[in-house]
Symmetry: C2
DNA sequence: TTGTATGCGTTATCAC
DNA sequence: GTGATAACGCATACAA
């Protein structure tokens, strides 16, 4: 493995429509017609153009095409980052659908940068439409993008004006999961996760509290805030489970957070499902590798991504689809001890 | 959550450099100069242009700027998909470094599509340089991209001509891990994973076999091929561990595959670390949540991503950096029973 | 210091 | 059928 120094190969300058036209002995208009599958071009000429293009390895520049007002056949996805299985699955579902529609997909991570709107706007220049996830750009920024003429679909966040949103059911599902624990006699529940981090998490916290009230119990005033990572949860759980009056059950905002609690429990000599009940969220495969297997909430993540793609396609085509919310299903395994 | 029907808001047509010039009472050249921070413009005029631009909410189009020959201040990353923590971490490291250099990052997933080269070429139109991962486009396609003038950095695959590559140490590390198992008396080892799926995996398989020969043992002729997912590994392990003469130790090509084996072992009533030794690869956090904790190989994944970014920046700046290979470190925990 | 004119690679509207 | 030519939004060499 080694570099070869500094001999710079001369980049053969990119072929353009002019190069191709010249080589085929026609005008650029004809080349463009061939490309557009226009039938108003003689078969012989058509063939000449095609071979010329092939020999030169020419592909029309999407850039120029877009500048000339054509759609790019590409769509963009704006995410806070690409960390974790949830987002990966969303992208997967989205891409499947987009590929089927012969669209290419560009993914942008904003990483909480203050310049996120600018980045999204730049991306909007390159694509025909955008999907925008929860904590990326503000509602106002979304409105501005729409005003500039970019069709948007919101993801995992509430609808803004007439911009449609794709979401999954969180509040009711969280209440259901919490009620399950309460019914099985748990009296000190904790919620692990940061409700302010994303609309989805906020709703789960709301549902957690609502279930308490519905059962005539007093919910905890505050969640146990942790970041998004398993390591964050591990640290938080170490403190939480080792305190005086530790919770008998922990409702985790994601499976990854729950995994952190498994590690902490093991290191404290606690047995999950017996000493402490645990639930996660997302039905991550790792939940089946853990001992005992993790009780969790199944969301149709890929379907959510695919749905976002198809709504976006409709919007690009000029339709005005409605927002959609997909249901979640609890998956009861052993970690909740029930 | 509901749509609002069909009332279409009229997109106020995008402001251009002409609009701004007119409003400020200057020519487009002057507007452009202001934008380029040229000092050859009178402070008063400059101010007029600035306020005009502000009032119109004008941002120069990167599209047009790029067409006019300017760099885009953006770079692209071409991955097979965005599945799994490994790739997410690579992207994270890459983005951190790119953001620090004030570059925005566009991510493209090829998903094994035959049109991958085409997609990469399109992306190349929009950015100043590209990082290309293992099983995305062919070596020839990479050469063609370079010839078109796009600086490339290869990732997790061998160098091609003078195109530099960023990789991690696999072969030696795999041999080391395997030797560890052999030294502790294991005599029937299996390798779980598909060496043909990626150069990295292929090298791990090579190292696995080399360690056998170095210890005077005969390595298995074939790996136990599984896909990339935990579920694939679960299914494969169910068969493998339940057969006659099952292996006493399984070297898994990734941690996610190892997690699948944990699930299978548990469901077969086997205890990992006692009935069967297990090793993974990547030092995924989930390895610490498993019981017993997973022995694995730590790769500096984010650093690899960051390194790719900085090599790419050098290439864009006109330098010709060398390829680099970063070392891996074994992390011995309990799953190997040693 | 500022304006004019041209190029960048397309598409599309005219003529011929 | 085919060929000029004007957009599209920007940068810039050259004039003024």
């Amino acid at each position: 493995v080694h570099g070869t120094g500094r001999e710079t190969r001369v980049p053969s300058t990119r072929p353009s429509i002019y190069t191709v036209a010249e080589r085929a002995g026609v005008s650029i208009a004809t080349v463009s017609r061939v490309l557009a599958e226009s039938d108003r071009v003689a078969p012989a000429t058509r063939q000449r153009v095609l071979t010329a293009a092939d020999e030169l390895g020419w592909r029309p520049s999407r850039l120029a095409r877009r500048l000339a007002g054509e759609p790019t056949q590409a769509v963009g996805v704006v995410f806070p980052d690409l960390v974790g299985r949830y987002i990966a699955e969303v992208v997967l579902g989205f891409e499947r659908e987009a590929i089927a529609a012969d669209l290419s997909v560009l993914v942008l991570g904003t990483h909480g940068r203050p310049t996120a709107e600018r980045l999204a706007t730049d991306l909007a220049d390159h694509v025909d439409g955008l999907v925008v996830m929860d904590r990326t750009i503000t509602d106002d920024a979304a409105r501005r993008l729409e005003d500039r003429g970019t069709p948007l679909v919101l993801f995992a966040r509430p609808q803004v004006d007439e911009i449609p949103a794709v979401r999954s059911e969180n509040r009711r599902a969280a209440a259901e999961l919490t009620a399950h624990l309460l019914e099985h006699g748990h009296d000190r529940l904790a919620f692990l996760g940061d409700p302010d981090a994303a609309p989805d998490l906020s709703e789960r916290w709301l549902g957690f509290r609502a279930a308490h009230r519905a059962a005539g119990r007093r919910p905890p005033n505050k969640p146990v805030r942790a970041g998004f990572s398993q390591d964050d949860a591990y640290a938080a759980a170490l403190t939480l489970l080792d305190g005086r009056r530790p919770p008998t059950a922990v409702v985790c905002a994601t499976d990854e957070l729950a995994a952190g609690v498994y590690g902490a429990a093991r290191d404290l000599g606690l047995v999950v499902g017996r000493d402490v009940a645990l639930t996660g969220w997302d039905d991550h495969p790792l939940g089946r590798a853990l001992t005992p297997a993790l009780t969790t909430m199944h969301q149709p993540i890929r379907e959510l991504g695919a749905l976002a793609a198809s709504l976006l396609c409709m919007r690009i085509a000029g339709d005005a689809p409605r927002s959609e919310t997909l249901p979640s299903e609890p998956v009861i395994r052993r970690s909740c001890g029930c």
